[in-house]
Amino acid sequence: MTDKERELLLLIEKEGRMASDKLAKMLELPINEVRDMLADLEERKVILGYSAIIDWTKAVGTEMVTAMIDVKVTPQRGRGFDEVAERIYRFKEVKACYLMSGTYDLSVMIEGRTMSEIANFVSEKLSTLESVISTTTHFRLKQYKHDGIIFVDDDEDDHRMVVSP
């Protein structure tokens, strides 16, 4: 990874997809070099996608319910946790899935339209998997900060004087 690649990644991680000519200026690189760099990073799956950060609580009528589920599983000989993890993360309801150290093994984030939708998923899909020993479901009540972005109404006005020395 070159310094410029790193700088590019840090920038778009924060800003999302940006026009190549703008990136070229900001990074002091020729525009085709930026295009090649992006294409290469996408191909190598270093960049997996571009997305927006949305506060769904403000998009009336589309609010989703989110739960974090601690899952204890029996690892399988030869494949460890990967096989059972795969069976879980392939469900489209699963938004995130991590292998954790500590008192449980997998941390699974589920999104659904209602609490009962999530409850159904846990009781019918998740806990019925053979290697799953137990699940503990925590519903998310409020989102304060996500991916480095503060969700509660922060005072983001520019308080500076319009002209100063």
Partner: protein, 394 residues
């Protein structure tokens, strides 16, 4: 109750009356009266002070740390400044008697000048520069002597320009790199030439290095770190720019003990000490502020790259500003004065910039644009400037 109206003729110091109000004021008033403007006229970071710094100050209040500190500032803070100056700029100051925590670099500049300059002394002021230098020299009774720089020299000061202005009364020179408003920096080789001249003529150097961290292409070189310069340099710096702490009013001066002692005399009577809660904030910035500062620096550099290149595309000639957060494009091609340009741009396109002449000699023909603004503001500003330039050139 009746007030007897006493006859009183206002009696102001001639010194103060002789000082012209800052040219920035007029623009401030004009811009403040307008809506929907994009301001590139701001001389401070667009960041809020990092949370850990704010939190440390809140914590100091919770602990009841609300009394005066030592005149020179919290010892712990001076020790951090001392360590920082040595690690970062290879220049050593004893926290016991060579560092004073001030109310911003602004106070640092004032006490440095007052400690050195007597009425009639000439102080060379490298311009364009921060607006306070010449008035502060005048307040001491000294005579500010502008030394202009120009875009042709990347706004670096030349030995010849200084030499031409030396007289038997020249006592000191004021340098400030990276520079506000030009963004110019001076490297080691260039500074060494100036240093040789300064030593030959035994001048004192005031070096305002408040933008030292905001040097994007090469490492900042401190004047005090150059061979033979430590003894004669008063270094002024602060937290405002690099840590986004303008409103806290905290900075520092570093100088050999005899100079520091003289400055401390003024500081102890005029200020007592810098604000205690601001000093605790500064202490946290020194101890744990590096990473967030570096992130801000990367972002300033990216915005500089974008902005300067875009100004050039818009048809304005612009030197490469190596530091601070200002671009100082030439507007001569438009045939306007910098005042006309700035005023028309504000009225017609609602973009505020500062006319270059307010920063002294060499500033006319340029405008200062601060790129401490969001990328979306910069993009919009660049579009409007481009439209404006195209229009006036038709």
């Amino acid at each position: 109750m009746t007030h007897v109206k006493a006859e009183h003729n206002v009696k102001l110091s001639q010194n103060v009356e002789g000082i012209a109000p800052s040219g920035i004021r007029r623009f401030f008033d004009l811009a403040s009266s307008m809506d929907n403007i994009i301001s590139l006229g701001v001389g401070e970071p667009d960041y809020t002070t990092p949370w850990n710094v704010r939190e440390a100050s809140i914590h100091s209040l919770e602990r009841g740390l609300t009394s005066y500190t030592a005149n020179a500032g919290l010892m712990e803070l001076r020790e951090e400044i001392s360590r920082y100056m040595e690690e970062r700029f290879q220049t050593k100051y004893d926290p016991a008697d060579e560092i004073i925590v001030t109310v911003g670099a602004s106070e640092g500049l004032d006490i440095a000048l007052r400690a050195v300059v007597d009425p009639g002394d000439e102080v060379l002021v490298v311009e364009p520069c921060f607006v306070s230098y010449a008035p502060l020299v005048s307040l001491t009774g000294g005579i500010p002597v502008p030394v202009p720089t120009s875009m042709e020299d990347n706004f670096q000061v030349s030995v010849e320009a200084i030499r031409e202005r030396l007289t038997p009364d020249t006592k000191a020179i004021m340098l400030s790199f990276p520079n506000n408003p030009t963004g110019a920096v001076m490297g080691k080789a260039e500074l060494e030439e100036i240093a040789a001249l300064v030593q030959e003529h035994d001048l004192v150097v005031f070096s305002d290095e408040i933008y030292a961290e905001l040097s994007y292409d090469e490492e900042h070189v401190s004047t005090a770190a150059l061979e033979g310069m430590w003894d004669r340099t008063i270094l002024i710096s602060g937290f405002s720019k690099s840590f986004a702490m303008t409103g806290w009013r905290v900075g520092y001066v570093c100088a050999p003990a005899p100079y520091a002692k003289a400055m401390l005399k003024i500081h102890q009577y005029a200020m007592m000490c810098a604000s205690t809660m601001a000093q605790y904030a500064a202490l946290e910035a020194m101890k744990n502020g590096r990473q967030e500062m570096e992130e801000m620096i990367v972002s300033y550099r990216q915005r500089r790259n974008y902005f300067v290149e875009s100004l050039r595309e818009a048809g304005l000639e612009c030197h490469s500003p190596g530091g601070a957060f200002y671009a100082f494009p030439s507007i001569r091609a438009t045939g306007m004065t910098s005042e006309e340009f700035a005023e028309k741009l504000l009225i017609e396109q609602r973009v505020a910039v500062v006319p270059g002449h307010v920063f002294g000699a060499g500033g006319e023909g340029h405008v200062r644009c601060s790129y401490a603004a969001s990328m979306s503001q910069l993009e919009e500003a660049v579009d409007r400037i481009a439209a404006f330039v195209k229009n006036v050139r038709k």
